[in-house]
Symmetry: C2
Subunit: 461 residues, 2 copies
C-alpha cells in the first residue's frame, strides 16, 4: 500500500490551487474519496469552484455535489442558475437531491423544475412529499430491481445494464410488473449461484422491510438488528418505493441520541438544526428556557414547603444549613438511576415488562448508596457544625444522626423516583428521555424536603 | 410481496415446537433471517436445541451460533463438549468466534484448541490477542482478496471460488504476495467493468484504512465519514490484517454513546458489561458510588461557606429559604450548557479551537436565561414570602430584588462553567464527558453560594 503522507498530499493540493493548475488538481482529486474531494472544494471561491467542477463529468459532478453541505449547494445553485444547475441535479443521489430541493424556497423550486426531465421531476416531487422523520423522508430511489423468473446470469446482466454509479446494487430487489416487492437477493448470491439458477431459488422472501410512513428511528433499528446494507421501503400497495441505506441509519441513530441527551437535560429538540455553531443564540435560548422556566415555576411548591418549616429553621438554624445537602444528594442519585434506565430502555436491554425487576434492583442499589452517603453526611455534620449554635436541649450527635437518616431515606426515594419516572412516561406512551434530569431534580427536591422536615419534626420537636 | 402475518407465523412455529416436529420447524427456520432464527432457538431447552441444530449444515450452524448471546454459546459449548463444539466453531464468523473464545476460561480454551485445524487455531489466537477497544479487537478476517494483475473476470472467478457464505465480498481487497494492501475495488465495479479490464485500472489506491491498534471509536467514525460497508485494517508492515464492518461500527457508536451518557451522569463506565439486567447490583453500586461519594466529600466546601454565613441567615431567615432555589437554577442551566457542548464536541461540530466562539455564544444565551429566570424568582419571592418574618429595616421588595439579582448572576456564571468545564477537560487531554453533570452541579453550588451571600452581605448588611 502506498501510505501517502497526509501532510505532503495536502501540500501538493494547496500548491496546485495556488498555481491555479485546475486540470492537474482534478487528476489528483479524481483518485480521492468523495468526502475528501468536497473538503478540498469547500476551500475554493465560487469562480474557481465552477472551473474545477467543469473538469469532472456530469455524473461525477452529481456525485460530488450530493456530498456538499446545504449552504454550498445553494451557493452553487445561485452561481450556476437553475438551467446550469439542473445538469448536475439530475445526476445527484435521489435522497440527497430531494433534501436539497426542500432547502430551496418555493420560487427557486419552480425555477428549477422546468429544466428537469419528467422522470427526475416526478421523483423529486414524490420524495420531497414525505415527512423527514419517516422512512419515506430518508429513503433513496437508487436501487436495482430484477424479475423473479430471470436466471442468475440474466439478473446480473440486468443489474449491469441499468446501474449507474450512484445505485446500491449489493442487494437486488425482486419485483413484478406492478413493482410489487416479492423479496430480495444479494449481489453475492447472484455471483455465487450457477448462471442457470432461477432467481426464485435464491430469493429471500422472509425479510425485514419498512413502510413509507414508518418512524425513521424504527427503520434504523431494523437495519441495525438485521445487520443490513439497506432496507426496502414499501408503500401501502406493497410496491417498492425506495431503500434506506446503512449510512443513513447511522446518521439517524446519531441524531436520535443527541435528541435523547438533550431531552434528558430538558432541552427541547429542534428539527431545524442540531448543529451547535449554526443554531442561533435565540433558538438555543428557546430550546433551553422552556424547561428551566417551568421548573422555576413548579419550584413554588418546594418554596411553600420550605416556608411551612420557617419557624423550625429559625429555632434550629442547623436545619437550614443542611437543607441543600440533602436536596443535592437526591438530585445526583436520581439522575444517575434515570440515565441508566433510559439508556437500557433505548437499547432494548429492558422493556416495560421488566419494571418490577428494575425497581427491585434499584431498591437494592439505593440501599447500598444510602448507607455510604448517610455515613459521609454524619461525619460531615460532626466536622462542620461543632461550632454551630445549638439549643441546649439537643446534642450535635443526635441532630447529625437525624439529618443523616433523612439523607439516607432521600437517597433511596430519589433513586426509585429516578428509575420509576422514565418507566411511567413510557407507560403513558411518551419518550422516556423526557423524564428529564431537571424534572427529576425538581421532583426529588420536593420529596426530599418532605422527608427532611418530616424526620426533623418527628425527632427534634 | 407476501406480507406474512407475524402473529400467525409465530403461532405456526410455536405449534411445531410443541408437536416436536423439528424437521418441519427447520424448513421454516431456514427461510428466516438469522436473528429471528436465534430468537426462536433461545426459547428451546438444551436437548431440543441440539436436535434442531442437527438439521442445519455445519456452515449454517456456525452462522447461527455466531449470533447467539455469550451465555447461549457457553451453554452449547458445555452441552456439546469441546470436540462436538469445534465442528461449529470453525464455521463461525471470525470476529465473533474470537469474542466467544475470550469468554471461555483458560482451561476450556485449552480443551477446545486441539480439535481445531491449524488455520482456525492460529486465527483465533491472533484475533484474541488484540485489545477489544482497538480495531484489531473488533475486526474480522472474513474478507476477499485479489491480485492487481488479474482481469475483472479473473477477479470475479477468484472471489467466487473462495468466498464461503460468511465472507464480506462487496469490497474486494487488492494485495500482493506478501499480503501487503495496495487498494480495494468493489464487487459493483468488478461487475460493471468489461471482463478484460485490468484490476489496476479500477482499484482505489487512495482510501481510508485503520491500523490494528487504532482506537475503535476512530475506526467507527472513519466508516461513518466515508460511508463504507467495511474498512480494511492493516498491521505495522502494511499487510491486510482484517476488516471492520459497518454493523460493527454502529455497535461501537452505540456503546460509546452509552459510555458518554453514563460518564456525564457520574457513572463510571464498566468494560465488562453495559447490559442493565446482566450487571450485578454490586457493580451497579460501584459504578455509581465513586462520583456521588466524592461529591459528598467535596460538599464539605459548600458546607463551610454556608457555615460562614450562619449568622446572616439567623438574622435574616429569608436568606436560608431561598438558598436551595439559587443552587438548583444554577445546576439546571449548567448541566444544559454542558450537554450541548459535550455533544457538539462528540459529533465534531465544534473543536477546541472554537472555545471563544462557544463561550461568547453561551454568554449571550445565559443573559437571556438570566433575565427570564430572575423575573420568575422575583415574582416567586413576592408571592411566597409576604408572610415571612422580616426585620423592620428591610422591605420585602428590596430583599426580593437582591435575591433575584443573585440568581441571575448565578445563571450566567453556571452556564459559562457548564460550557467551559468540558472544554477545559478536553484541553487537558481528558474525555469532555467526564465533566459530569453532578460535578457541574457541585461546582456551581459553590460559586452560587459565594455569589448569593456576597450579594446579600453587600446589599442587606
Amino acid at each position: 500500500m502506498v501510505k501517502v503522507d497526509l501532510d505532503q498530499k495536502n501540500m501538493v493540493i494547496e500548491g496546485l490551487i495556488k498555481a491555479r493548475e485546475w486540470e492537474a488538481l482534478v487528476t489528483i482529486l479524481k483518485k480521492m474519496p468523495v468526502v475528501e474531494v468536497v473538503e478540498v472544494l469547500r476551500e475554493l471561491e465560487d469562480p474557481e469552484l465552477l472551473e474545477v467542477l467543469g473538469f469532472f463529468s456530469p455524473e461525477e459532478q452529481g456525485y460530488i455535489v450530493s456530498d456538499f453541505d446545504a449552504d454550498m449547494q445553494v451557493e452553487l445553485f445561485e452561481a450556476l442558475g437553475p438551467r446550469g444547475f439542473a445538469g448536475i441535479f439530475i445526476h445527484m443521489a435521489s435522497d440527497l437531491r430531494a433534501d436539497f430541493y426542500q432547502e430551496l424556497d418555493r420560487e427557486d423550486q419552480l425555477k428549477l423544475l422546468p429544466y428537469l426531465d419528467k422522470k427526475t421531476r416526478e421523483n423529486v416531487i414524490r420524495l420531497s412529499s414525505y415527512d423527514p422523520e419517516t422512512a419515506g423522508g430518508i429513503m433513496s430511489t437508487d436501487f436495482a430491481t430484477i424479475m423473479g423468473d430471470m436466471t442468475a446470469a440474466q439478473a446480473i446482466e440486468k443489474v449491469r445494464s441499468d446501474a449507474p454509479s450512484k445505485k446500491m446494487i449489493y442487494y437486488v430487489y425482486v419485483v413484478d410488473n406492478d413493482m410489487k416487492l416479492h423479496g430480495f437477493t444479494t449481489l453475492k448470491d447472484l455471483i455465487m449461484a450457477e448462471p442457470e439458477t432461477s432467481i426464485w431459488d435464491i430469493v429471500y422472501k422472509d425479510f425485514a422491510w419498512a413502510e413509507v410512513d414508518e418512524d425513521r428511528e424504527t427503520v434504523a433499528s431494523k437495519i441495525e438488528k438485521y445487520d443490513l446494507v439497506a432496507i426496502p421501503v414499501i408503500n401501502k400497495y406493497g410496491q417498492l418505493a425506495g431503500i434506506v441505506r446503512h449510512d443513513e441509519a447511522l446518521e439517524v441513530i446519531q441524531a436520535e441520541q443527541t435528541e435523547d441527551m438533550e431531552k434528558f437535560m430538558g432541552i427541547v429538540p429542534d428539527d431545524e438544526s442540531l448543529d451547535y455553531p449554526e443554531t442561533s443564540v435565540l433558538s438555543h435560548f428557546r430550546k433551553r428556557i422552556t424547561w428551566v422556566a417551568s421548573l422555576a415555576v413548579i419550584g413554588v411548591l418546594s418554596g411553600m414547603i420550605i416556608h411551612r418549616y420557617e419557624e423550625a429553621m429559625s429555632a434550629l438554624i442547623i436545619l437550614a444549613l443542611y437543607m441543600p445537602m440533602v436536596a443535592d444528594s437526591g438530585g445526583n442519585v436520581g439522575s444517575q438511576s434515570a440515565t441508566v434506565v433510559i439508556r437500557a430502555l433505548a437499547l432494548g436491554q429492558v422493556s416495560l415488562k421488566n419494571w418490577l425487576m428494575i425497581l427491585l434492583k434499584e431498591a437494592r442499589i439505593s440501599l447500598m448508596l444510602s448507607v455510604v452517603l448517610g455515613l459521609i453526611a454524619f461525619g460531615k455534620i460532626l466536622f462542620l457544625s461543632w461550632e454551630t449554635d445549638i439549643p441546649e436541649q439537643y446534642s450535635l450527635f443526635y441532630l447529625a444522626f437525624g439529618i443523616a437518616l433523612a439523607l439516607s431515606l432521600q437517597v433511596i426515594s430519589a433513586t426509585l423516583i429516578g428509575a420509576g419516572l422514565p418507566l411511567l412516561v413510557k407507560r403513558l406512551g411518551g419518550d422516556p428521555a423526557v423524564a428529564a434530569s431537571p424534572a427529576i431534580t425538581t421532583m426529588v427536591d420536593i420529596t426530599g424536603l418532605l422527608i427532611y422536615f418530616g424526620i426533623a419534626v418527628t425527632l427534634f420537636f
